[in-house]
Symmetry: C2
Subunit: 336 residues, 2 copies
């Protein structure tokens, strides 16, 4: 298992911590354009799969039947932060399909968005299932199940027809048979498949340019592109690198994060997919690595880089509000 030093964390210009990882850029024909570290290693893509896990919602006709709008489709692809806007949309969507929070299989948690979590605690409330970053994905699964008239019972279990359908779709995009690979359970209770990092990038490249997939699947993917581009704040939330990157790049980059240091991007205009795994699972390093790769590929304009400055090289601020260090790409792997 080989990794490359991807990201450094400094304190007063001295390196304090180091993040190793692997990364790959490939095209939708599965040609490796560039790679760093061992790209054949098995990874759990976790929530990076969500845009692909929302394909069933459109392809099955459920989205059209229930008249889902861009915000709801973006939310189905999301790891949302549990802000009020996310909570409101999950609740109104559930209500429209005749279900409630109790139908969601994910656990009750506080929002990941700190201010929202503090507000909830200050008002004497607790976390709930709607606040879970996966509640949009779960609502999507329930919507498809209703449309296809499949039982909602244990819809999160790997044996359920919906999860089998999802694994088939993911296998189609990744060009491997996922059921033959190890599988775990995700934070929200759904199956957590594994695949080589290379296959994750390949799947994202085919999500970027689905012309080699069936027409119905390709059309569903184009519909999801549109939703993510039009409603970037519903795929993550205010201040998040994923929402701000997707918003700033106006469709040239569709990024999605996954737990334990995973981040991916689909570049529709170029037909490219990018997958990054930070070995240690760190959240702070994955986006710095992805943005360095995007810059290396000349994807970002100067204006976009200005907008994304705080994500490209985040500043570390201490409890007194003093800038004490930064998170930056290591100089060794990319000729920046």
């Amino acid at each position: 298992m080989s990794y490359e030093l991807l990201v450094e964390v400094t304190r007063n210009n001295t390196v304090e911590s180091r993040h190793f990882g692997a990364a790959i850029v490939c095209d939708f024909k599965d040609n490796v354009i560039e790679s760093w570290g061992d790209i054949e290693q098995l990874v759990f893509p976790r929530s990076a799969l969500k845009p692909m896990l929302a394909i069933h919602l459109v392809e099955s006709g459920a989205s059209e039947h229930f008249e889902l709008n861009d915000a709801e489709l973006s939310l189905a692809c999301s790891s949302h932060q549990g802000e009020q806007m996310h909570q409101d949309l999950v609740e109104s969507w559930l209500d429209r399909i005749g279900l409630t929070e109790d139908d969601l299989a994910c656990g009750a948690v506080l929002p990941e968005h700190t201010e929202s979590a503090h507000k909830i605690l200050a008002s004497g409330q607790q976390g709930c299932r709607v606040h879970h970053n996966c509640s949009g994905k779960h609502t999507g699964f329930l919507t498809t199940a209703l449309h296809l008239n499949i039982s909602l019972d244990n819809y999160h279990e790997v044996e359920h027809p919906l999860q089998q359908l999802s694994l088939d779709i993911l296998s189609d995009l990744a060009d491997i048979e996922l059921k033959q690979y190890p599988m775990g359970i995700d934070g929200c209770g759904l199956p957590a498949p594994t695949m080589p990092l290379r296959q994750l990038a390949h799947a994202m490249a085919r999500f970027a340019n689905p012309s080699d997939l069936s027409t119905s699947r390709a059309q569903a993917i184009y519909r999801l592109h549109e939703a993510i581009i039009n409603e970037p704040l519903y795929i993550a939330g205010h201040g998040s690198v994923v929402s701000e990157l997707n918003e700033a790049t106006k469709g040239s980059v569709l990024a999605k994060s996954g737990a334990e240091g995973v981040i991916t991007a689909a570049l529709p205009k170029r037909g490219l997919g990018i997958a990054v795994k930070i070995a240690d699972g760190s959240e702070r390093a994955r986006s710095v690595a992805l943005l360095a790769i995007l810059d290396h590929l000349d994807v970002l304009t100067n204006e976009q880089k200005q907008l994304l400055k705080n994500h490209i090289t985040p500043t570390i601020v201490n409890s007194k509000g003093i800038d004490v260090g930064e998170i930056r790409p290591a100089k060794s792997w990319l000729p920046i």
Copy 2:
């Protein structure tokens, strides 16, 4: 910069994430007993220095003059979690020396102890300086300054006589001149010195067995041993690995954590010091690595291992309360 794979994070028995790092065990004569990875690398020990940063408090006579008890001395060495017991003791100590929270130079934060933080938010309050994990250390500095009749102004700045004294004491224990090494600013505003990882272990070995230091310094260190052993909950808090390890081992291990993946231990009976740096700065990996080393050194009894089970191989529980994985020492580096 070479690192060893120290800790693995699994999901359903498949490795999901990997933590690399360096570690060393040395004796108080600076003989390296065992090491993994590059031990000459420069590290910021951060809060791992706190027990050594409390020496001035005893050696100056301030502790005796102000009649500090074991709990207060343990708190001076602490990264406390901001539980009510910690808050109460910082406040009563400040009050006894005629000062208030406003005299602390650290920033206002919420407690690191989740339940305590939630309780504060639910009661409509905000974070404060007393909740800062370093407030015990700061109160210690203020106590020494009062006793030595040094100005309290800017006591946290590197130029202040107290910080110069602290750097001299640390340099004595680490056997190097710290002022010649890079220095940053810590989360609480105090200087954050650097030293080779090897010197950090050496300093901890001399903290474990200070017989080569001056008599007054050695006596101060023995007094701190006593305080940490008698009041382990004041050096960190309930449920923390540091407090529970120090409590369970009843004086055979004095552990202290530092930010960005650092953890150290002094083994007084054996005159050994241990220092671990997880390259990526991860908190979850440092204690698993330290406990694996302690087990490797046959320091822990079966009864202690039973008590510390949840820290030796922590279980990962998802939002539904299901065990989905674990954090464990990698098999490659230690013949366990």
